[in-house]
């Protein structure tokens, strides 16, 4: 069954990918026919064929995903209800010396939860794309990429060893690269795609080193083996990079660098906002609901390792907390509707990380699950707005459209309420338990995370309502042509959003007891392991009343502030921006991370490359080496050539010298 879940999307990707190539090939042929004057008929037939191929591609890819989703739900109930956690071995992958890994699918509660989240969101995005990409010329290619992404994501979450996780990890990175750069005519899309791949590679650099460290320490990279051996290595030391480290700390931190890249945490976050160049369904699926949460999943999956290192956990907490605040501040001033949501995603990922950092892994995964629903919903809603506004993404050119897109408007409200953590929407339950856990951790970093998270919650509510008010309310700021064409999206787009909205409303209430409440131990089984010394989640249920109330209060005040600034007194934001110009520019320019990296890494790399090429290879190595020797040879040859003067007496003289030398050498040797 689980094999079907994982490999149906691959099959879909393969078949639909072939369709995409065939279609392009036929397009080529039809183009030729046209050129040779077969004219109208050829062009017509081609158009017909195209739409048929498109439909076939849509049916196949959506069908594969929906089937995979149904199977995933069955697997979930089998594991959680039937307690049937198991691993399916497929075949050997790498076997060299002690290094042995197999292709295998690990099914436990954690991977079952992830499988359901991934396939449900993915299936909804597939269906939505049928409507959203309706006018696109490369529909089969798009659907094939979405299928391919889902396959890699499922391989990632079902991995039973670090290498296969890395396979899925890099694979989703590839799919993300392909989809960000889907509209490859745009230079900005290409640049964003490369940036996403490279920043992720920097993270993966850490991942691989952590993986090697794991292998050196445990002689294995298989999860069951290393988890079983982890307690015995709690105090192990490892000698790396000319220094002595607490083994599990350095390994966990190196692996966490990978998680930071994939989940766009502070420092390695710069690719995520740019990734919004991709089509909006991609942003919903990859850059909100699934791929970017892979880092959180990794930390939760590796809980037996992270648990052994308080230092690593503290770092995870601090990075998560600072990202939560940082991204929220930037999100408050962005004007591109998708970028606001992108920074919001970045910030919410921070929440998930600091939940893991205080040993409340299941709270992190709980927030991951609810977030997947409401954030995908928000992105798809944004897509619906963009669709309605003739591809406009700048909120300054929107406004006053809520009557024209009522369903989208309501769905966006649901998503925003969930994101802001208002009762009884999903985000209320998950964000509360995350903040309560941070408070209950009883550590300094936990306190920092709690207050940072509370601040970020205020900002979250603020920018969410800023987005709603700027997009839907106030005076219409779009031009007349655009405004005349504003229309509600078709059912094929609204229906998947409605499904996600159900999740955004109910997932928190339904999941609470299982994920983080009384059924916790039974639900998770051995998928997440927490040391008895870290009873954070238990304590989280007994925090003071004001801690439970605070997130709701800051959420409502954030909404109120947004209402004041963007509805009651809309002149204030401009005044504030003018008054605090420096701060505004700093936030608008995203803390200048891009400029910094460009100056420190990108441009020097090109400059260095050029100078090594011209200077190192050209001047030094070739100049001294082959060309230098060649020049010297020519010089010597010319000099030698001068000796061949043609005069007998010159030759005779030379011979004489030779004889003298030979004789004296002979005498010298012989005389000894």
């Amino acid at each position: 069954m689980v094999v079907g879940v994982v490999f149906l999307p691959l099959l879909g990707a393969f078949v639909v990918g072939m369709l995409a190539l065939l279609q392009r090939g036929n397009g080529e042929a039809a183009g030729h026919g046209h050129g040779h004057g077969h004219g109208h008929e050829g062009g017509h037939g081609h158009g017909h064929e195209k739409s048929r191929t498109d439909s076939l591609a849509q049916v196949l890819s959506c069908g594969a995903l929906l089937l995979s989703m149904l199977l995933a739900i069955l697997v979930f109930f089998d594991v959680v209800g039937g307690g049937n956690a198991h691993t399916v071995e497929l075949m050997t992958w790498i076997d060299s010396g002690l290094f042995e890994v197999s292709w295998a699918l690990k099914v436990d509660t954690l991977s079952a939860v992830m499988m359901v989240v991934v396939t449900v969101v993915s299936a909804m995005v597939h269906v939505y794309s049928v409507g959203y990409m309706h006018h696109d010329t490369s529909i089969p290619r798009f659907m094939a990429y979405l299928n391919l992404f889902t396959f890699f994501m499922l391989m990632l979450v079902t991995a039973d060893n670090l290498v296969q996780m890395f396979f899925g990890w890099e694979g989703v990175g590839l799919a993300s690269y392909l989809l960000i750069g889907f509209w490859y005519d745009r230079p900005s899309a290409n640049a964003a795609a490369i940036k996403a791949f490279l920043v992720n590679r920097v993270g993966d650099f850490g991942f691989t080193l952590g993986l090697f460290g794991t292998f050196v320490l445990f002689d294995s990279v298989q999860f069951d083996t290393i988890f079983a051996a982890a307690p015995a290595h709690a105090d192990a030391r490892i000698h790396l990079f000319s220094a002595d480290f607490h083994a599990l700390t350095i390994i966990s931190l190196l692996l966490f660098v990978g998680a930071m890249g994939k989940s766009a945490q502070l420092g390695l976050h710069t690719w995520l906002p740019d990734a919004m160049e991709g089509p909006t369904p991609v942003s919903a699926l990859i850059h909100a609901a699934t791929m970017v949460t892979a880092g959180v999943f990794m930390v939760a999956r590796l809980s037996p390792l992270f648990e052994q290192s308080d230092t690593a956990l503290a770092v995870v907490t601090l990075i998560g907390a600072s990202t939560a605040v940082f991204a929220a501040t930037v999100g408050c001033v962005q004007n591109d509707i998708k970028r606001v949501i992108a920074y919001s995603t970045c910030s919410q990922l921070g929440y998930m990380f600091f939940a893991c950092g205080v040993s409340a892994y299941s709270a992190g995964i709980f927030h991951l699950m609810t977030h997947a629903f409401f954030k995908a919903l928000l992105f798809l809603g944004a897509g619906s707005v963009i669709h309605a506004m003739s591809d406009e993404q700048d909120m300054r050119k929107m406004g006053g459209i809520w009557r024209m897109v009522p369903v989208t408007y309501v769905l966006m409200w649901i998503g925003s309420l969930a994101l802001a953590g208002i009762w009884p929407f999903a985000g209320y339950f998950s964000k509360d338990i995350v903040l309560e856990s941070a408070f209950a951790a009883g550590t300094g970093v936990g306190q920092i995370a709690f207050w940072a998270g509370l601040g970020a919650a205020f900002l979250t509510a603020f920018y969410s309502w800023r987005l709603l008010l700027m997009t839907f309310h106030g005076t219409p700021r779009g031009d007349e042509v655009v405004m005349a064409r504003v229309h509600e999206s078709p059912v094929v787009m609204l229906a998947p959003m409605a499904v996600l909205a159900v999740g955004a409303v109910a997932a928190g209430y339904v999941g609470y007891e299982s994920f983080v409440g009384h059924d916790l131990a039974h639900f998770w089984g051995s998928a997440i392991q927490v040391l008895p010394a870290h009873p954070t989640l238990e304590n989280a249920h007994h925090v003071p009343g004001w801690v439970k109330l605070a997130p709701l209060v800051v959420g409502i005040s954030g909404i109120a502030l947004a209402y004041v600034l963007y509805s009651a007194a809309p002149q204030i934001p401009a005044l504030l921006a003018a008054r605090f110009r420096g701060l505004y520019q700093f936030l608008l320019n995203k803390w200048y991370f891009d400029e910094l990296y460009d100056a420190v890494f990108v441009r020097p790399a090109f400059r260095l490359g050029r100078s090594l090429w011209k200077g190192g290879d050209g001047a030094v190595i070739d100049g001294v080496g082959p060309d230098g020797i060649a020049a010297a040879t020519v010089r010597i040859a010319r000099d030698a050539g001068r000796l061949q003067s043609g005069y007998i007496f010159h030759y005779a003289f030379a011979m004489l010298i030779g004889i003298v030398v030979l004789v004296s050498w002979y005498l010298f040797i012989g005389g000894r």
Binding site: L198, L209, D617
Partner: protein, 504 residues
């Protein structure tokens, strides 16, 4: 079946094709067509015969298999001695796969002196296969050096405008190394009293002598591989060589260096190898970072891929000198993978070069609009070069890094930077050639892959995915021989740790 002299057959079958081509007479067009057909037939037959090695090889045996031995110059103790083990057998197959691919790739692009061109390739195949099968020092030397002649001619006759400079640079660099190697081989022969490679692999040379022998061999292998800083002949040779010349150069000839280390330096001179490991590590690490940065700045497609070859081959030396099973098997797999991937990348350049006659990256852009299939194939090999898991490139690099990490974590760290830089220059190349709008007039009529070109790429696509998803088919062949080598090296490492001679 086991009695069939299969190695001799594989080595010399191409020469039978040469004889046929030489006997063709008549109208030049006819001659050209016949030469192509005979060459393809001969090389495909050779490949089919070489499959006997794949199926007949016993992976449990660490010793040489399919051994043939006959007296050659008995007075001097030289013999015609052929055989393959888990280290060399896959290189024989790599050569026999790539030669038919090359001949098919040159089908239309070579129009002058077709007969001579095909002869050169078939002779080269004999030399390549012979090098990997030879078990006698001097037989090995003949093949090892003999390959330079057809290669020199291919660059010098069918190459680009600066072909003469490149051909000479190539020849001089490799010859400089080879002269020293010949001296070393002579010295080994005189010292050990035998030219038999299997015997020499267990002979214990005096450590002081090992140092000199090692350095002389190192000169030859480092140039071939090529290692930084003796790599500058490679970009020039590639740029001027015809496509198929680049394919063999990158695909097989560069492996001579890695094979040399694994067949000669490491097993015969283990103490010196242990001693010089820091030197090899530092040269390799510099190569990875240096040439990756240089590749980033390239404007010529072939030069870019040539520089990427230097970086990828540096993984081979890192893996080989990590002296553990993971590193050495990784370095072998990296060589096989690079043999396929770099060959494919040069063919990829060749496809558009045949159409537009330019290697300048700036000439291209937006090819995906007219050549979707080409874009897809290019994408696969680009990803393999970047080392994406699921492709052959990943397994090689990954095992090398596992091995290196166990031996020296700094080396692994610095080498792994190549992962990031490698992605940077390849993605940047791909973007400039394939993506973007198709605005250049010259490209508006460009056509996608022809059936012949699809046939050229198909076997390489299969190999890249096969090695990436199920590398066990290849790794299991290596295990026994590699473990034997690692055991010998472990003893040497223990020796050197005790010896006062250690240069470390």
């Amino acid at each position: 079946m086991r009695d069939l002299p299969i190695l001799t057959l594989v080595t010399f079958l191409p020469l039978v094709g040469v004889a046929f081509i030489l006997s063709v007479r008549g109208d030049p067009l006819m001659v050209a067509r016949n030469a192509r057909n005979v060459a393809l037939l001969a090389s495909v037959t050779t490949f089919l015969v070489s499959l006997g090695l794949w199926f007949g090889f016993d992976p449990a045996g660490a010793d040489f298999q399919f051994v043939e031995k006959a007296a050659w110059m008995p007075a001097l103790g030289l013999s015609y001695h052929m055989g393959v083990d888990g280290i060399s057998v896959l290189f024989v197959l790599l050569s026999t796969v790539l030669i038919p691919v090359c001949i098919l790739a040159s089908w239309e692009s070579i129009t002058v002196r077709v007969k001579e061109y095909m002869i050169a390739f078939l002779v080269m195949e004999t030399m390549l296969v012979g090098t990997f099968c030879a078990l006698d020092l001097f037989l090995f030397y003949v093949f090892f050096e003999g390959v330079l002649i057809p290669m020199f001619l291919i660059i010098g006759v069918w190459g680009g405008p600066r072909r003469v400079y490149s051909a000479f640079k190539f020849f001089l660099f490799t010859l400089a190394g080879s002269v020293l190697m010949l001296l070393a081989l002579l010295m080994m022969y005189l010292e050990a009293g035998t030219a038999d490679i299997p015997t020499l692999m267990t002979h214990d040379f005096r450590p002081e002598l090992q140092v000199w022998l090692w350095l002389a061999l190192f000169a030859a292998f480092a140039v071939k591989l090529p290692m930084w800083p003796v790599h500058t002949w490679l970009p020039d040779a590639h740029v001027e060589a015809p496509t198929a010349g680049s394919v063999i150069l990158a695909g097989v000839l560069l492996k001579y260096g890695g094979y040399g280390f694994l067949r000669f330096s490491l097993p015969m001179l283990p103490d010196a190898s242990v001693m010089f490991t820091p030197l090899v590590y530092s040269m390799s690490v510099i190569a990875v970072i240096y040439t990756s940065l240089v590749a980033l700045a390239q404007e010529d497609m072939k030069k870019l891929i040539a520089y990427s070859s230097v970086a990828h081959m540096a993984y081979v030396t890192v893996g080989a000198f990590s002296m553990n099973v993971h590193g050495i098997e990784g370095s072998l797999l990296q060589m096989l993978s690079h043999g396929v991937v770099s060959a494919a990348l040069f063919l990829i350049v060749g496809v558009v070069y045949d159409r537009i006659h330019s290697r300048d990256i700036a000439t291209y852009g937006g090819l995906v609009h007219r050549m979707p299939l080409y874009a897809a194939v290019f994408m696969l090999f680009m990803l393999a070069s970047v080392g994406l898991p699921g492709t052959s490139g990943f397994i090689g690099e990954f095992l090398v890094l596992v091995g290196a990490f166990q031996a020296n974590s700094w080396v692994a760290l610095l080498t792994a930077i190549g992962m990031i830089l490698g992605a940077a220059y390849m993605l940047y190349l791909y973007r400039r050639v394939i993506f973007g709008m198709l605005t250049k007039d010259a490209l508006k009529k460009i056509t996608d892959l022809t059936p012949r070109e699809i046939a050229v790429f198909a076997p390489l696509v299969v190999l890249v995915v096969w090695m990436g998803v199920y590398p066990d088919s290849f790794l299991s062949i290596m295990h026994a021989s590699v473990e034997q080598l690692v055991d010998r090296l472990a003893a040497a490492q223990a020796d050197v740790a005790l010896s006062p001679l250690a240069l470390r």
